[in-house]
C-alpha cells in the first residue's frame, strides 16, 4: 500500500541524472584545465647600482645610452626629446646592439608613469642592460 502511494511521487525523478552529471563534470574539468588567465601583470626588471658602482659607471661612459626623465619630458644624451623621438633613437641604437647599457636617470619630481613608459620602451626593443639612477 505504502509502495503504491510512493510511486507517483518518484516517477518525475525517473529521468536518469547520472549521465547528465557525468557530462557536466567532464565539462567543468575540461574548462578548469584549459582556462588560462590573461597575463594582466608584467614585471620590468632593472638594476639599481650601489652608490660605489654608480661612480665607477659614470666615469666610464663607454657605449652608454643616457636617458633623463624630467617632470617636463625626456632627454637622450642631454638633448630634450619627445617620446616618439626617443622611440626612434632607441630603436636605431637597439638595432646595433641590444646588450648596450642604458642608464636611466630619473628626476625626483617626475611621475612614476614616465619611468614605466621608458622601461616599457626598452622592453619593446629588447634592451635588457638597464640601470636606474635617481637624481635631484
Amino acid at each position: 500500500m505504502a509502495r503504491e502511494r510512493k510511486r507517483p511521487d518518484l516517477s518525475p525523478a525517473d529521468l536518469p541524472m547520472t549521465p547528465m552529471i557525468d557530462v557536466v563534470f567532464q565539462l567543468l574539468i575540461y574548462f578548469l584545465v584549459t582556462i588560462r588567465p590573461i597575463d594582466v601583470f608584467t614585471h620590468l626588471e632593472v638594476a639599481r647600482p650601489s652608490p660605489e658602482a654608480q661612480r665607477e659607471r659614470l666615469e666610464v661612459p663607454k657605449n652608454l645610452l643616457r636617458i633623463n626623465i624630467f617632470k617636463e619630458g625626456f632627454a637622450l644624451l642631454d638633448r630634450p626629446v619627445s617620446y616618439e623621438e626617443l622611440d626612434r633613437q632607441l630603436t636605431r641604437a637597439a638595432e646595433l646592439d641590444k646588450k648596450q647599457s642604458v642608464l636611466i636617470m630619473v628626476s625626483s619630481y617626475s611621475e612614476h608613469a614616465q619611468l614605466i613608459q621608458v622601461l616599457d620602451l626598452c622592453a619593446k626593443l629588447g634592451l635588457t642592460n638597464l640601470s636606474v639612477i635617481s637624481t635631484n
Binding site: 518518484l10 614585471h43 647600482p49 625626483s108 608613469a113 619611468l115
Partner: protein, 141 residues
Amino acid sequence: MRRKAEEIGINMTPMIDVVFQLIIFFITTIDLQNKDMDIRLQMALAPHGKPVEAKDPRTIHVDVDAQGRISILNQRLTLAVLRTYLKKAVAEYGQNLPVVIRGDIRTQHDAIRAVMDVCAEAGLYTVRFGAIKEAARPGGG
C-alpha cells in the same frame, strides 16, 4: 524491475552539493596572489613587458600609492619598518629575493627612490616594477 530502480536511488544531491562547493572554492582561491594589492593603485601600462612567468612564492610586492605611502599586503609601513622587513627577508631567503615595486602612475619618483634605496640597503640591487600588460578593454575594442 521496480526493485532495481529503488536500489539505484542513492541520494546524489548532497554529494553534488559538496562537489560544487569544492569547485567554487578552488575557482575563487586559484588567483589569490593578485588580490593582495592596494586596490586604489592605478598602475601604469606597459604593453610590451614580458608576462610574469614563474611565480616565485618568495616575491615581495611593495605598493607605493600616489601620495608615496608604502604598503605590503595592504599593510601600511614606514620606511624604517620596510627596511627591517626586507633585511629579515634577505637574511632568510638570500639576495636573489624578487622584489616588485608597484607604484601608482601619479607617484613622484622620490617615493619610489626611497623604496629602491631601502632595497639596496638590504642588499637587493635588482628590483622589478609592476605594471599592467593589458588594459581592460571595454566593448572588446
